[in-house]
């Protein structure tokens, strides 16, 4: 039984003590009658004692019952169907509140969808009784079981509802239902019996992916009923920044030449959703460098994207001057990020997007080759290492600093001082050396391997494949072409060579390849960067054992607009873009004139420079995560601290030994990764889930079919049109299960009160004590006289 007014009920029950107190008080205050013939009183009392005690108890019980019934009637009790019949239980309502990015959509009145959902949740809680239980799950990915199992502390749950904040993640209904399945299917039989699951969402495309089926939770529980707001039939348009990609993810400050300018090309992808797609529009895009430090703001670059009617996607390239930011970051030991923002619209969370950029004063490159002593040889006697040094640092600008590493002395200190390693003599590297190179790559390093010129039989590829965990194999012997072969006219377009994409055809023309250590068979897991004219791969790139995370996997399966526009292979783009940690590049010809004339051709310098710079950036990763996922951090990071710019509502995130966050980041923001000693390790950007911000409406039938995939029958899904109907929707369920008993209680109280009056009159013996009544009674009792 549930009391609608519990306080009144308790007060009423306490009032039952009033008759007892009155009885006790009056009993004390009465003046005794001093009586002489007490022996007869005692004798009569002994005869009547049991009857008198019974009468008094009956009267007291009747009076207490009257008070109790009145109190209960005032408290408006509600009997539950099963409870009234015995053995029943209270209702259980689970509130699944969508606080994903789409719930921040504001309507014309300025009220957000989340506020409407919270109001509906409050209405539902208000309609519950004290014995009912309510659970709360917030759906911002990953779904958070705030109150599961359900609790009877309705006030506390209501407070938790008030405290729900919007996230920048998608709605994770799958996760919530999985959690509920564990709860409803638990051993507690009452948990799933007659439970009501209220899914409070607008079911926009950003929240509900109608194409992805839900876990079949309710099919196993026939009595569960689903309550949901009717899907919105109109929603404001939303423009979102879906991608920000700096063309070069590593900025080397040493090459600015002291002028403080470092122009960085940034590609910004935008998308329109909702009703606004049909209308022409214009969106102002701003891009700037941010440092994550309070008060440090660099000038922004601004451009306007004009939308044609029906256009939903657009990409723009912007030039951001990174010079001051990069210099400042180098001096302060911190990193910078590129931030793209657009005008404020219905969904604020996806109006901004950030991409961290690695800043280096110079790039140290280790060249693993046998050290040569003596004066520099003439051009015709240059060995591969010499050619490589010339290509990497042609102007002695200190932007790239080649360091020689002897193949026999590859150790951790020497590797820790470089960003990339070019292996010229892999045949001289022993097993331990390959192991150290493997760990170097795993830590985010770039290794470029060239075949050695000396041996005729190459056994080192086995060690390399083992150390790097590569699945592709190389030929045992170098193959020499009968006629020099050129590079393919149609080179694969990869991000690694995107900067020289325009000039590559002209630069590749004079290049001839005489000899290669070919890639044996299909290079599984590797991407082809440069192809020979015969169609064989000449330069390939691949990661070590791929540590693909949920976030990166999603990215791999969803090529960006940039990829599609440039025609790059999705896998290679993803690999080179940001997601993997560490990169291995294999060039099939040694950089010497006996294998190829590339060292003497103009392509040599830009090719090596691009391989170095893009490779380093790709190997280190972009440290970008979408909201709702578990962020990854640079190696040796222990914690992600919110930066001053975005840290007002953010909490720090601990990083485990594997570089993975212990908690998911539900809010977008820029974090500063620090190690155990507090030293900065770089910036990590958590961006709003762009897909979660789509505001396209979906048909009621579509959503019903989607919800039905959870096992809920069509009859068990009930729509509510607004939050005020939420409680009524629940009440309609309640009406079938409950019946108000206030009126019957009042009637019962009246009957008991009448009985009490009669009993009091009868037990008081006033009738028979009154002389006139006594005569009347005696007459009635006389034989032959009937009443």
């Amino acid at each position: 039984m549930t009391l609608l007014h519990l306080g009144l009920g308790i007060a009423g029950i306490a009032c039952v003590a009033i008759p007892i107190i009155i009885h006790l008080l009056f009993r004390r205050k009465r003046k005794p009658i001093m009586w002489g013939a007490m022996r007869f009183v005692i004798e009569a009392y002994r005869k009547q004692r049991r009857r008198l005690t019974l009468e008094q108890l009956l009267l007291l019980a009747a009076r207490c019952l009257v008070v109790l019934l009145l109190a209960l009637a005032i408290a408006r009790p509600i009997l539950e169907r099963a409870g009234a019949l015995g053995g029943g239980s209270a209702r259980t309502v689970y509130l699944l509140v969508d606080n994903g990015l789409a719930s921040t959509v504001t309507d014309e009145s300025g009220q957000s969808a989340l506020e409407r959902h919270k109001n509906a949740a409050r209405q539902i809680i208000a309609s519950l009784g004290a014995s009912d239980r309510v659970g709360l799950v917030t759906l911002g990915a990953p779904a958070s079981a705030t109150v599961v199992p359900a609790s009877t502390d309705l006030a506390a749950v209501r407070q938790l509802v008030d405290d729900i904040d919007a996230t920048d993640a998608a709605m994770d209904l799958n996760g919530a239902l999985d959690r509920l399945r564990a709860e409803l299917g638990s051993e507690d039989e009452d948990a799933g019996s007659g439970a009501v699951v209220a899914i409070l969402s607008d079911f926009l495309t950003g929240s509900a992916d109608a194409g992805a089926p839900l876990p079949p939770v309710f099919g196993e529980l026939s009595e569960v009923r689903v309550l949901a707001p009717r899907p919105r039939q109109s929603a404001p348009g939303n423009v979102q920044v879906v991608d920000v990609t700096p063309l070069r993810s590593v900025v080397v400050t040493g090459e600015t030449g002291g002028n403080g300018r470092a122009p960085q090309t940034v590609r910004v992808a935008l998308r329109r959703t909702g009703a606004a797609v049909a209308q022409p529009d214009a969106t102002t895009v701003q891009a700037r460098a941010v440092s994550g430090r309070a008060g440090v703001v660099w000038p922004a670059t601004e451009t306007v994207v004009r939308w044609a009617p029906g256009q939903s996607e657009a990409t723009t390239s912007m030039i951001v001057d990174m010079g001051a930011a990069a210099t400042s970051a180098t001096e302060s030991g911190s990193s910078v990020a590129i931030e793209a923002t657009i005008d404020r619209d219905a969904v604020i969370g996806d109006n901004i997007r950030r991409a961290p950029v690695t800043v280096r004063e110079s790039l140290r490159v280790g060249i693993i080759a046998r050290r040569r002593f003596g004066a520099a040889p003439s051009v015709d006697r240059l060995d591969p290492a010499d050619w490589l040094r010339l290509a990497l640092d042609p102007t002695r600008s200190a932007a790239v600093e080649p360091i020689s590493i002897d193949p026999a002395s590859i150790d951790a200190p020497s590797l820790s001082a470089v960003s990339a390693v070019f292996v010229i003599r892999p045949d001289l590297v022993d097993g331990s050396g390959w192991d150290r190179l493997g760990r170097f790559v795993e830590g985010g390093g770039l290794v470029v391997v060239f075949p050695p010129t000396e041996p005729t039989v190459h056994l080192w590829p086995d060690e390399m494949a083992r150390a790097f965990g590569l699945s592709w194999r190389l030929a045992r012997e170098a193959s020499e072409f009968e006629a020099p072969i050129t590079l393919a006219a149609d080179q694969p377009l990869s991000l690694a060579l995107a900067h020289i994409r325009e000039e590559l055809k002209d630069l590749a023309g004079p290049v001839r390849v005489f000899k290669t250590l070919a890639i044996d068979g299909e290079a599984t897991g590797a991407s082809e960067l440069v192809r020979l004219a015969d169609g064989s791969a000449w330069i390939i790139a691949g990661g070590v054992e791929p540590r693909v995370k949920e976030d990166s996997a999603a990215r791999v399966n969803q090529p960006s607009d940039q990829d599609s526009q440039q025609g790059a292979e999705p896998g290679a783009s993803a690999r080179l873009q940001a997601e993997s940690r560490g990169l291995v590049v294999y060039v099939a010809s040694a950089p010497t004139l006996s294998w190829t004339n590339l060292p003497a051709k103009p392509l040599m310098v830009p090719l090596m420079q691009e391989l170095l710079r893009q490779g380093v950036g790709s190997a280190q990763g972009g440290w970008t995560t979408r909201a709702g996922a578990f962020p990854t951090a640079p190696s040796r990071s222990a914690e992600l601290l919110p930066t001053a710019e975005t840290g007002a509502n953010l909490e720090s995130i601990l990083i485990d030994a594997g570089g993975r966050a212990e908690t998911a980041a539900r809010l977008a923001g820029l974090y500063r990764a620090v190690d155990g000693s507090g030293a900065a390790r770089g910036l990590v950007a958590v961006n709003a889930d762009a897909d979660a911000g789509r505001t396209d409406v979906q048909a009621e039938a579509t959503i019903q079919a989607w919800l039905a995939t959870s096992g809920a029958s069509a009859g068990s899904i009930e729509w509510i049109d607004d939050e005020s109907e939420a409680s009524r929707g629940l009440a309609s369920i309640a009406d079938e299960e409950r019946s108000p008993v206030s009126f019957p209680l009042l009637l019962a109280a009246l009957v008991v009160a009448l009985m009490e009056t009669v009993m009091a009159r009868f037990f008081s013996h006033a009738i028979t004590s009154s002389p006139s009544r006594r005569r009347l009674f005696s007459r009635l009792r006389a034989p032959g006289v009937s009443a």
């Binding site: 009465r30 005794p32 002489g36 013939a37 005692i42 009569a44 009392y45 037990f763």
Partner: protein, 330 residues
């Protein structure tokens, strides 16, 4: 001075005898039902034959007899010597036992209404005319009646034992002593009638008229025992049962605690609920007392505190005298 006036008030006969009662007592005689063994000449028959006017019997002459009592007429007719014996008339000794137990302190009649002195409160400051007050008035009336006849009267005030006693006497001043003894007020103790009767009988060497004035709220067997001893000693007994109207009717309207005057404790009850059983018990006890007294051929008398003593006493005396007369003639 105050003590003197209080003493004077206490012994004022009008405190106990209303003038209306006294006026009714003037025309009655309290006669002994049996032969009494008085020491003085009076209006009552003596067991001893002596010189009197009322012939009793003849008996043969034996040597030494006074020849003045020879009946010469009989000697002339039968030539035998017989003596004439006459019934000796003597005085009546009355012993009045007044119960002063706790139960006698109950009364529901206002003192001012019942008292002959027109007082608003009794000598002890009480507002009600208690059963003890009524008993003392009755004892005073009996004493007054006997003294006026020249009989000896003694009074004993008792409860569980003898509280006060006035020896039998018919002298002047006896009335004063009796009234003074009756001024004892009730105590919170039960009645021990057999013991009191034993103590009283121990001091009696002749047959007396014993008047027991009490509510007799004690065990009937004790009453029987006490009366049986009186009968055994050939005393005449008048059982005066004093009751209060409220005790007989038990007419209460509100629930209230009842507390016994003899230390029975307190009971919270609704008197209307037990009225029927109470009245049954009360009446049954009264009937038992009456039956016991009649089983010993003693006169019993119900005296209600709300009734005037004069008519009650007059009716009783008249009825008693008529019964005595019938027994003589029969």
């Amino acid at each position: 001075m105050a003590d003197a006036s209080t003493q004077a008030d206490r012994i004022d006969a009008t405190t106990y005898l209303h003038p209306r009662t006294l006026a009714r007592l003037g025309s009655f005689e309290l006669r002994a039902k049996h032969i009494v063994e008085g020491v003085m000449s009076g209006m009552h028959r003596s067991p001893y034959q002596g010189f009197s006017v009322e012939f009793a019997q003849h008996r043969p002459y034996v040597a030494g007899d006074d020849i003045r009592h020879l009946d010469w007429k009989v000697f002339g007719r039968s030539d035998k010597l017989h003596l004439k014996q006459y019934q000796q008339e003597t005085n009546l000794d009355q012993v009045i036992l007044v119960d002063s137990s706790g139960s006698m302190a109950f009364g529901s009649r206002m003192f001012q209404e019942a008292s002959g002195a027109g007082r608003k409160v009794g000598p002890r400051g009480e507002l009600e005319w208690t059963k003890f007050d009524h008993a003392t008035a009755l004892a005073a009336a009996f004493s007054h009646l006997s003294l006026r006849q020249g009989d000896r009267v003694g009074v004993t005030v008792f409860a569980d034992s003898v509280r006060a006693m006035v020896r039998r006497s018919s002298q002047q001043g006896q009335w004063r002593q009796i009234v003074e003894a009756l001024s004892a007020h009730p105590v919170e103790a039960e009645t021990d009638l057999p013991r009191v009767v034993d103590l009283t009988l121990a001091k009696l060497n002749n047959r007396c008229l014993i008047t027991i004035i009490s509510d007799f709220y004690t065990d009937p067997e004790q009453i029987r025992t006490a009366l049986a001893r009186c009968k055994h000693r050939r005393h005449d007994v008048i059982v005066c049962r004093v009751v209060d109207k409220q005790e007989e009717e038990f007419d209460f309207r509100d629930a209230a605690p009842f507390e016994g005057l003899e230390g029975e404790g307190r009971i919270q009850l609704d008197p209307r609920a037990i009225r029927k059983d109470y009245l049954e018990a009360f009446q049954e006890h009264a009937a038992q007392v009456r039956k016991i007294s009649r089983s010993f051929s003693f006169d019993d008398m119900r005296v209600c505190t709300h009734d005037w003593l004069g008519p009650t006493l007059a009716a009783f005396v008249a009825k008693r005298n008529a019964r005595i007369k019938r027994s003589k003639t029969g």
